[in-house]
Amino acid sequence: MMPRISLTSSLRDAVDGAESIELHAETIGEMFAKLAERYPRMADRIDAGIAVAIDGQIYRDDWNTKIPADAAEVFLMPRIQGG
Amino acid sequence: MTGVLVSTTINGDAVQFACPTDETLLDSLRNRVGLTGAKEGCGTGDCGACSVTLDGRLVCACLVLGVEANGREIGTVEGLVEDGKLHPLQEKFIEHAALQCGICTPGFLVAAKTLLEKNPKPSEEQIRYALAGNLCRCTGYDKIVRAVQAAAKEMRKK
């Protein structure tokens, strides 16, 4: 099964307005590479920082993180900052 | 800039230093005597991080001039340890986790020591008002008040 990749609204203009995308990737890094290839405007957004929630767990940094084939949800959200 | 020679006693030791007439005691202590335990949090007497004693009285070193120390006795946090032994307040602050960042700790210790010398059995309210001139932004004061209570109890045993 190919997990759907959902995007927070502020990222959607970079993917021609789509709320979600079907894309096969085994890691966060591979997903980013494929996104940037398919949607060139995503490259800058990825550089600026995107956090990835896989089944609710938020990954900010590690692009080697595996995306399980049975992941129910992959959600791209803004990279956040703390105090 | 006119310099003045100041002869004073700090934590029991005779000390001499020269400073300009408009320099604060805090700057003299930190930059000329090399005692950096007293901290500058505000420079306006609002935070108490520079609390020291002048002839036994609690003052903000940032509101006293270096030249005013002449012929008088200064007590700083560095003088709390006696005969290599921590003061009960120092022991209890560590034991009760009464510090997080620790920048306000020297001022609290000097202020609390002054309180307990005057009032060996203060109530919680008396502790809170006696320490109201010392700001802490990390702890919410909870563990500080408990440490002072514990130290007071310990000191009364002796």
Binding site: D55, G56, Q57, I58, E73 | L99, G102, Y129, Y141, D142
Partner: protein
């Protein structure tokens, strides 16, 4: 080496005990060295000249008189800081915030800086610098800055192709809120405002910079992240990163404000120009004027519910000011606003708005407290309308595993429900209240982060263990990390010492922010210790001349297993360390990890207040914090985080605010007029630590540092409404504001 980051249920021997922190003795004796406590031979004193105006073109800076003053060794303006950022917007903004480039953007914006032989000379030199300003119209209020005719702060910010102060609009949510509101029996809509507050750390920013003529340099600085300071400073000054060694001092409080550089690049530039060390310490006045406070806000909150208590729709329109440079603060408000609840239809919009105020920086769970104030106040209003207790109303709508968070993803196992159940059971909820007293409660959410982390663990020839970490210890984490290493190695706590390495001694570590210190360095310390155990077993095997598989490590000793080795007495860590030279050299463990997946955090607070109806003055009578820590490594310092966050929230709720005059200048730049809570303002703050293990940490640890500042604003607002019969919509709820509300209600 890959390590399993999953939670492993186990019995702990010393984790969870309340040991003495290793840096305690230095901090109670005055020996600990903070930012302003360093000295270098030949050091100069640095001072910064700041704009007296809110918004002005800098037409001319005449330094000729100041330069001639005896004892002045260097003067810099923006001309000494060419833009080397390669048009990276974030870096350019930092550069311009460090020193104005042709235009002063806020009262207190740096314009020039001097280095002189002493404080008096440096101050005199500042007076001799003549700056010619041409005043521009200014705006400091977030709502006014959004008006079409508002003065424009930054030319590069556009909305619909036109110059604007709205630097960002971020929308979150799901479902159909219009349909949801149509289903509601009760709808409450309310607008709120919160004023700007400062982190208020007691130690002002301070550093000692030393740049040599060969382009190498050292920076001693009070910071939450010396590695990120190195990245920023070396970029802005064009230094090789490896040639700039940044050493973190003890830090006298940060709360987010020391994640960001302010004067450090100026100190380095002065040192480079003077070719001498420069010590630069901000005054309290400068800290307030020019180091990042948090946003002031304006919000519209709307919540609809059925009579049975089910929320059918919720919206939040949030307007956060970022100061003079774009930030993500409105966005974070919009992400966190409804994160505690399970909502079918929700929409939040965060506006990031520029004004003539200092660049906003993170402040403990940045942006969440304000949104929570609006949402949690409105939650109480809806509960009242439908005749349900505010606690039951929250329990009914609490987010749970499987809930789609209002900021997007679906939650894994989370802990808002347990904190609410704990509120219900807490004796505080049943305590009797007196006249003019009222009780309130509220919930709070924060994300928590992990991030890049590495540690070195070295075993000395005597068997003592040194752990070197790269995350700054802001509140006792060295004790927690020593506990973790002692637990893993099975040795006494006193045998381990944790130190913070400088940027030359470890790989990059992210800043101590996002409640990550103990979570991430703790994870790395566990793995480094396990690596070391592997080495210790090998060395024991060599000493015994048996296969390593026949050696087990438990309780601090190597034991040979199997019948053949039953006569071998166990080898202690010290015994193995003593033979290290002849068995393969120094014994060490290392770990480099991206400690992602910190796990989100929830808290519920209960608060009793007493309001004096004659003066409007409010006193906190009792306060309880209930929060999930995953696993409390050192409970004292977890409680300390809960209490400290609550106290900051109490100050924000009742007293603290930036007050700007009609001239756009900040009027209360000292602790006398910007009044943070003092000891006599507060009661003991009760805490209840819940331990719901984080599935993504070997010990179950969650970040704990930030969440406790989120609920107090609303908890106190809700308590005041019960004590005084007035609903406060403007933070801080200072005595004059409450008195006015009471008087207005009578009229």
């Amino acid at each position: 080496m890959g390590h399993d980051t999953n939670y492993q249920d186990r019995e702990f021997k010393i984790i969870g005990t309340r040991v003495k922190r290793p840096d305690g003795i230095d901090k109670v004796t005055g020996r600990a060295k903070y930012g302003a406590d360093a000295f270098a031979p030949g050091q100069l004193v640095g001072k910064v000249l700041r704009s007296p105006h809110a918004h002005a073109i800098i037409q001319k800076i005449d330094i000729s008189k100041a330069e001639k003053l005896a004892g002045v060794k260097a003067i810099i303006t923006s001309a000494d800081l060419p833009d080397l950022t390669g048009s990276n917007r974030g870096m350019t903004d930092i550069l311009e915030n460090c020193m104005a480039r042709g235009r002063a953007l806020y009262h207190g914006h740096a314009v020039a800086a001097v280095a002189a032989i002493d404080e008096q000379t440096a101050k005199q030199a500042l007076k001799l610098i003549k700056v010619t300003y041409k005043l521009l119209p200014h705006v400091t209020d977030v709502d006014e800055a959004m008006l079409p005719d508002a003065p424009i702060i930054q030319d590069f910010v556009l909305q619909d192709g036109k110059p604007s102060n709205i630097a960002g609009i971020s929308t979150f949510g799901h479902g159909d809120v219009d349909a949801g509101f149509a289903e509601a029996d009760v709808i409450v809509e309310k607008s709120y405002k919160t004023e700007q507050t400062h982190q208020g750390y007691i130690e002002p920013h301070a550093c000692l910079a030393n740049v040599s003529s060969d382009g190498s340099g050292e920076l001693w600085v009070t910071t939450q992240g010396h590695f990120s300071f190195r990245v920023v400073c070396s970029t802005l000054l064009g230094l090789d990163m490896a040639k700039l060694k940044v050493t973190s001092s003890e830090i006298g409080g940060g709360f987010g404000g020391k994640t960001h550089v302010w004067t450090e690049p100026l100190a380095l530039a002065l040192s480079r120009k003077a070719n001498r060390p420069v010590k630069l310490v901000m005054t309290r006045d400068e800290v307030f004027k020019a180091s990042g406070p948090t946003s002031s806000t304006s919000m519209d909150i709307k919540i609809g519910a059925k009579k049975d208590g089910t929320i059918t729709a919720a919206t939040a329109m949030l307007r956060y000011q970022d100061g003079a440079f774009p930030g993500i603060w409105g966005m974070l408000g919009a992400m966190t606003a409804y994160a505690c609840y399970d909502l079918k239809n929700v929409k939040t919009v965060g506006h990031d708005v520029l004004v003539n105020r200092p660049k906003v920086a993170a402040y403990r769970a940045p942006s969440a407290p304000m949104a929570a104030f609006g949402v949690e106040s409105t939650m109480d209003l809806v509960a009242n309308e439908i005749g349900m207790s505010p606690l039951d109303f929250r329990i009914k709508n609490a987010a749970k595993e499987g809930t789609q968070a209002s900021y997007g993803p679906v939650y894994g196992p989370i802990g808002i429900g347990p904190t609410l159940e704990a509120v219900k059971k807490h004796p505080h909820m049943r305590a009797k209240l007196k006249k003019n007293q009222g009780r309130g409660m509220a919930c709070g959410f924060w994300f928590n982060f992990g991030g890049q982390t590495c540690v070195d663990l070295n075993i000395g020839p005597d068997g003592t263990v040194s752990l070197t970490i790269g995350t700054i210890d802001v509140g006792g984490s060295r004790a927690s990390l020593s506990l973790i290493v002692a637990e893993e190695l099975g040795i006494p706590y006193d045998q381990v010492r944790t130190n913070i390495g400088d940027t030359a001694s470890l790989g990059h570590n992210d800043t101590t922010e996002g409640s990550r210190g103990t979570f991430s360095s703790g994870m790395a310390a566990i793995f480094a210790a396990r690596d070391a155990v592997g080495v210790l077993r090998e060395r024991a095997a060599k000493m015994w001349d048996i296969p390593v598989d026949d050696v087990v490590w438990a309780d601090g000793v190597a034991t040979a297993t199997g019948a053949k080795h039953s006569n071998l007495p166990p080898l202690t860590l010290a015994a193995i360390a003593a033979k290290a030279a002849s068995t393969g050299g120094p014994i060490a463990g290392h770990n480099e990890v991206v400690a992602d997946n910190a796990g989100v955090s929830f808290a519920s607070h209960i608060c009793d207040v007493e309001v004096d109806p004659e003066t409007g003055s409010t006193k906190i009578i009792r306060y309880t914090v209930i929060q999930d820590a995953g696993k409390a490594i050192h409970p004292d310092y977890v409680e300390g985080q809960f209490q400290g966050g609550a106290a900051q929230g109490i100050g924000w709720a009742l007293n603290e605010e930036y007050i700007y005059g009609a001239d756009g200048c900040l009027q209360n730049t000292g602790f006398l007029d910007y009044r943070i809570p003092v000891c006599s303002d507060l009661p003991f703050i009760d805490t209840q630590i819940l331990e719901i293990p984080n599935p993504n940490h070997p010990y179950g640890v969650r970040g704990v540092g930030e969440t406790s500042i989120v609920p107090p604003l609303a908890a106190i607002g809700n308590a005041v409404s019960h004590a005084a019969g007035v609903r406060m919509t403007h933070i801080p709820m200072s005595a004059p504001r409450i008195l006015k509300a009471i008087d207005d209600a009578k009229a």
